[in-house]
């Protein structure tokens, strides 16, 4: 698969809005059949990148090829082979669920009859068949999202772009969306998504980049990123309020890295239980102890910082 | 003012006010176009007066009223414009705006969590509508006096009458708003308003209508309002204005009563 021609290829890609540089020279390659993720805090440049890939935002610099074509010159031809699920659902509230799919299919030159069949299949796929003739407005957030995803599939796209596909959904709805996206991937559809949910990235992405301030700060598979930027396990220690700093000094040298937060201390270590034993041996008695596997969230926070972005 | 512009477009009166919570902020900021919308609101009846009263008036000439009094067409139309703009302003404020705030902005759900009661919200809304409407009415009366369509004394008497008209339609609008199901219903209301505007003795004396239509027309609130204000501004004699005033007072009372009952039920659900 690695030898296949990349579907999306960006070199030194830049997007500026006036003086503000949203995307600051990134290199990305998305290969056929993979699920590729853009991770990053708000304002990292993920959505700007997605809009450029969606051929609705001309790059300000660098090189971008999608399906081997130039997004500025061949926008419609590329978009004919893309499916886009935007961050906010922009369904037509005056149409029914089914009509939202059939009218959209017409934009791809799909004949009416085929569009009807296709809509029926897709409604089945996203489990909305029973609501086919309902209006959009009374649907739940999860249903609207599924309908938007179905709409993005109406043209049998080769690449599906998903901008924060599960933001704002309840756990059941999220899992259903993940499961459907996984099936698409199994069928060979290339997925490109942005998210700031680490569990989502770990669930769905074969490969991902972490963006911060318009740049790519890390790249790899979720597993590789964890190995590279974190330890195997993390120990979370809580001491009595306001005494973290005092204890932290005594923990120096334990594990690879010690991070002191207002409410707890994190030890990044290879073996959590061994580290807990060492802490106890030092005569320290934390109020609570949690040993867990290192997650993408640790990588993410380590790379992009803990400060609130907005 | 509904006017001869189709009522579907009436929504322009209420639409900006759908963002009324924002208007509060704008009051401080004073930079939004909303202010221009507010300030220019009085312009519409004046434009109608010039177009219909003077422009078409040049074709019509003078009118002889039933009492034998002869008035210019502008003098005949002006009080009707005042009454209908008081109606439109009050209805737009209390229906469109109220509906938007209740249904979409969920503004009131926030307010009823405080000790404020639904009825007090309604009165507050009505009060704001009335202040605005009264300023428009006063400005219009100044124009009428300036054009020599009425005297200063009569204008001063017509002012409270216009305020009463505003209250009656405001109360009616609040009651109506509690029955609105969707924005589509506003199309219907706009149509009803426009029909009233055309056939309430606004442009021709009701005496010109066929007898049956005339009786129906005389029962409508806008006809009573036009009759009241026109009587004052042309200086009609007699006591029929008492009937108009009583009618409008009863309408105000019934409107408020219905509105407060229904609002309680809609909000505390």
């Amino acid at each position: 698969m690695t030898t296949a021609q990349p579907l999306i290829q960006a070199r030194g890609l830049v997007k500026r809005f006036g003086d503000f540089t949203a995307v600051d020279g990134i290199d990305v390659e998305v290969r056929p059949g993979e699920a590729f993720g853009f991770l990053g805090p708000n304002g990292a440049g993920k959505s700007s990148t997605m809009r450029m890939v969606g051929c609705i935002s001309p790059p300000s610099g660098g090189e971008l090829r999608i399906l081997g074509m130039d997004p500025v010159r061949d926008g419609p031809a590329i978009r004919a082979r893309l499916g886009v699920c935007p961050q906010l659902d922009n369904l037509d509230p005056e149409l029914t669920v089914r009509e939202n799919l059939t009218t959209y299919a017409r934009y791809f030159g799909i004949p009416r009859r085929v569009a009807r069949e296709r809509a029926a299949e897709l409604l089945d796929f996203v489990q909305l068949t029973e609501r086919a003739d309902s209006k959009v407005e009374p649907l739940s957030g999860g249903m609207k999202r599924r309908l938007t995803i179905a709409r993005a599939l109406v043209n049998n796209p080769e690449i599906v772009l998903l901008d924060e596909p599960t933001t704002g959904l309840d756990p059941q709805a999220r899992h259903l969306v993940w499961e459907r996206l996984f099936r698409l991937k199994q069928q060979g559809v290339t997925l490109v998504l942005t998210t700031h949910y680490m569990d989502e990235a770990e669930q769905l992405c074969d490969r991902l980049v972490v963006m911060d301030g318009g740049r790519i700060v890390a790249e790899g598979s979720p597993r590789a990123l964890i190995e590279q930027h974190s330890t195997r396990e993390v120990v979370e220690l809580r001491f009595a309020a306001d005494s973290q700093e005092a204890f932290a000094g005594k923990l120096d040298g334990l594990g690879e890295r010690v991070e002191v937060l207002p409410d707890r201390i994190l030890l990044y270590v290879a073996d959590g239980d061994a580290a807990v034993a060492e802490v106890t041996a030092l005569g320290l008695v934390p109020a609570s102890v949690l040993v867990r596997r290192s997650s993408l969230e640790d990588v993410f926070l380590h790379l992009t910082g803990r400060t609130l972005v907005d | 003012m509904v006017g001869l512009v189709l009522p579907r477009l009436v929504s322009f009166e209420g639409a900006p006010r759908r963002s009324a919570s924002v208007a509060e902020r704008n009051l401080a900021a004073l930079k939004s176009a909303y202010w221009l919308v507010l300030i220019s609101g009085f312009l519409e009846p004046v434009l109608y007066l010039f177009s219909i009263g003077i422009g078409v008036g040049a074709l019509v000439g003078d009118l002889t009223l039933p009492g034998g009094r002869v008035v210019s067409y502008a003098g005949f139309v002006a009080p009707a414009m005042l009454a209908s703009s008081a109606m439109t302003g009050a209805l737009a404020e209390t229906t469109f705006n109220f509906f938007g705030k209740m249904k979409y902005m969920k503004l009131y759900d926030g307010i009823i969590a405080t000790p404020v009661q639904p009825f007090e919200i309604a009165l507050g809304e009505l009060g704001w509508a009335m202040i605005r409407g009264s300023l428009y009415s006063a400005a219009f009366l100044v124009v009428m006096v300036g054009m020599d369509l009425t005297s200063v004394g009569r204008a001063a008497t017509a002012f409270p009458a216009a305020v009463l008209v505003g209250f009656a339609f405001g109360a009616l609008g609040m009651a109506v708003a509690t029955f609105m199901r969707s924005w589509q219903d506003f199309d219907l209301m706009g149509s009803a308003q426009f029909t009233l505007f055309l056939f309430s003795g606004t442009f021709v004396p009701a005496e010109a209508y066929p007898a049956v239509l005339r009786w129906v027309v005389e029962l409508t609130p806008l006809y009573r309002s036009v009759h009241l204000i026109r009587g004052i501004s042309v200086g009609a004699t007699g006591w029929s204005w008492l009937l108009d005033v009583a009618y409008l007072l009863v309408l105000t009372g019934v409107g408020l009563l219905v509105a407060s009952r229904r609002m309680g039920r809609l909000l505390y659900k």
Binding site: I56, L82, L122, N156, G188 | L4, R8, L47, S191
Partner: protein, 267 residues
């Protein structure tokens, strides 16, 4: 199960006339909402004819230039109905497609160009204005207010007039920072045009400065053409002049609208 496998993929072609697919979208929605619009865009102009044409007309003893006031008024109302429907459909719906329901953004993710999105919506607006005025024309003909077979020429005229007012309104609505601006458009442009551009009384009775302003409005040119058509008389101004003037509004409006749409959609 959806077949999205690469082998089974039928590659969609681009739509032959993409703007038609966009128009189809609006027509599907309109199938459901047209009833609400019938009242405002058709019955109410008819009521205006009754209340104003017959009502006030009865008091206009001399007529206008020797014509019955009703006959003189009706073509003006036809033109102003077309204008109002065209502008009404080009204001809140356009703003909403950008800011509230974001239909344009959904469309721009499909293989449509900005021009297709704009042309499809404009075509729907023209459809609305055209059907409203055609029905209105028919009813007024039944009232006996149409006096010449030339009246059929009203139909292409209202199409051109609608385009001349809708295209620049699209540009305005795309640019408008808030819906207050749309209210201002009605207050300072649409309503004054309706009232002073020769619909209800002859423009000639306006004072000179205002008269020039009235001549500059697209509505007056539409009114004059419609009046000439339904009455079967020569217009006050040359027909090619009228048509060119309206076409200039349409073309300038289209260019402005396309620029405004591009500014919003391609960033």
């Amino acid at each position: 199960m959806v077949d999205v496998s690469v082998a089974g993929r039928v590659r969609p072609a681009l739509p032959r006339v993409p703007a038609l697919a966009v128009l189809a979208h609006y027509l599907v929605g309109y199938r459901r909402t047209w009833r609400a619009g019938v009242f405002s865009s058709f019955l109410l102009p008819v009521l205006t004819v009754v209340g104003f044409g017959f009502g006030v007309g009865a008091y206009v003893d001399q007529g206008v230039g020797g014509l019955r006031y009703l006959d003189w008024l009706v073509p003006g109302l036809i033109a102003s109905t077309a204008m109002q429907v065209a502008i009404g459909e080009s204001t809140w719906p356009v703003l909403s497609n950008f800011r509230w329901i974001k239909t344009y953004f959904a469309q721009s993710a499909a293989p449509l160009r900005v021009g297709d999105i704009l042309a499809g919506h404009l075509a729907f607006v023209l459809f609305r204005a055209f059907t409203s005025t055609a029905a209105f024309l028919l009813v007024t003909a039944l009232f006996g207010a149409v006096r010449s077979p030339w009246a059929v020429a009203v139909l292409p005229v209202v199409l051109l007039l609608s385009l001349a007012v809708a295209a620049p309104t699209f540009a305005f609505s795309a640019w408008a920072p808030s819906d207050s601006y749309l209210a201002l458009l009605f207050r300072f442009a649409v309503i004054p045009m309706t009232l002073f551009a020769g619909v209800f009384f002859p423009v000639e009775s306006l004072p000179s400065g205002l008269r020039q302003l009235a001549y500059a409005t697209p509505l007056w040119h539409g009114v004059d053409l419609c009046r000439a058509a339904t009455l079967g008389v020569a217009p006050q101004w040359s027909v090619p002049g009228h048509l060119l003037y309206l076409a200039a509004w349409a073309i300038a409006g289209w260019l402005l609208a396309r620029r405004a749409f591009r500014r919003e959609l391609v960033v």
